[in-house]
Symmetry: C2
Subunit: 190 residues, 2 copies
DNA sequence: CTATAAAGCTAACTACAGTAGCCAATCGTG
DNA sequence: CACGATTGGCTACTGTAGTTAGCTTTATAG
């Protein structure tokens, strides 16, 4: 029997592309094995079962999304940083819908990699808001508001929640515009 | 064999309460049957398999959430309506986390009940914004922004996305405050 | 009081995740 | 180069969940 040359990375990559194609919840070891031209039990030499595979996808997805956002916001601040972040966020989510689902998973408290990847992503958003000079509770609230708005829009869009034929792109830009407007007056706001 | 007196409604209710307890994805026919003190195949006399059960939960959840929001906003308008809606939305989602997950499902285009329930929920939000005098694209964009923000916050909260010990309630109120502020100037905003 | 429809059952099948243990390919070291 | 250890893939099997077929009993309508 000639060897297939699998690695953990190869298995995870195949799972990711499958997730983007058919949705994260439809990723199965049977299909992954078929795609890699291998029998199902062979996967266990590289990945510790389906749950572990989900964890690996989650960590990689969180760090890749964080990376994409961080890269988009280098050298810009305040309103420009929010714009850059928002565009990068939605673009990444639309390009990798299955991986994006994975970023929404609760970080497992006993998995250091999962916790670190989650924290890093939040930190990128937090840093992007530094130009607004917010501190303490103000900064926390603003970070949460920005994350919530971006995630909410992208999630509804991905779930087919915007049935009307109106331009989704423009709706997103207006939401981002509203956020920038509110952030500029954040400390005096309610 | 004495009869258990099941009905479709009884099965769905049990599934809903199970979903709230263990998460929608962990709802299984085995557990439902055990709770109802019945064998698994008996459930098929009332519900057409697991997928159909998910659809039933989805439709009921969407209409119950829509109902709760609509009830909260009777007799109030504009900023007060947004406040009422936002509070009702988050309260319902926290009270029924499993059902809330179900409301996020894509409406199945070939299932009239699913489509109707989804549209009705959007309509409630749309109506609540009528006091702002928005029309056409403005109204669509504002509806989408409000839905996205509320859903995004609640979903992140439910997923354990707010790790910091800061007050989540206050963060939510500030997000809602920011939205009201933007809605008041919606037409002139970017 | 009987005929029929409905409700629940057992038995069986399928699909998938996961485990045990075998055998062959590869790699490191003398 | 050779040979032993390690590793990667395999077959065979188990357990669990969803689903279907078809039987039996209960309830109900006439």
């Amino acid at each position: 029997m000639p060897r297939a040359g699998l690695t953990t990375a190869r298995v995870v990559e195949e799972a990711e592309s499958l997730a983007d194609a058919v949705g994260l919840s439809n990723v199965s070891l049977v299909v992954i094995a078929a795609r890699l031209d291998v029998r199902v039990p062979s996967l266990y030499k590289h990945v510790n079962g389906l749950d572990a595979l989900h964890s690996l996808i989650e960590v990689r997805a969180k760090s890749q999304l964080g990376e994409a956002m961080a890269r988009s916001a280098v050298g810009v601040a305040s309103a420009d940083a929010v714009d850059a972040l928002a565009l990068a966020y939605r673009a990444w989510a639309r390009k990798f819908p299955g991986r994006y689902e994975a970023t929404l998973a609760v970080p497992k408290p006993d998995d250091a990699a999962s916790v670190a990847a989650s924290e890093r992503t939040v930190q990128v958003v937090f840093d992007a808001l530094s130009g607004y000079g917010l501190e303490g509770d103000d900064a926390v609230d603003a970070t949460r508001a920005l994350r919530a708005a971006l995630h909410g829009f992208v999630a509804l869009e991905a779930a087919g929640g915007f049935a009307l034929p109106h331009d989704v792109e423009r709706s997103y830009l207006r939401l981002v515009g509203a956020l920038k407007h509110s952030l500029a007056h954040w400390k005096t706001l309610s």
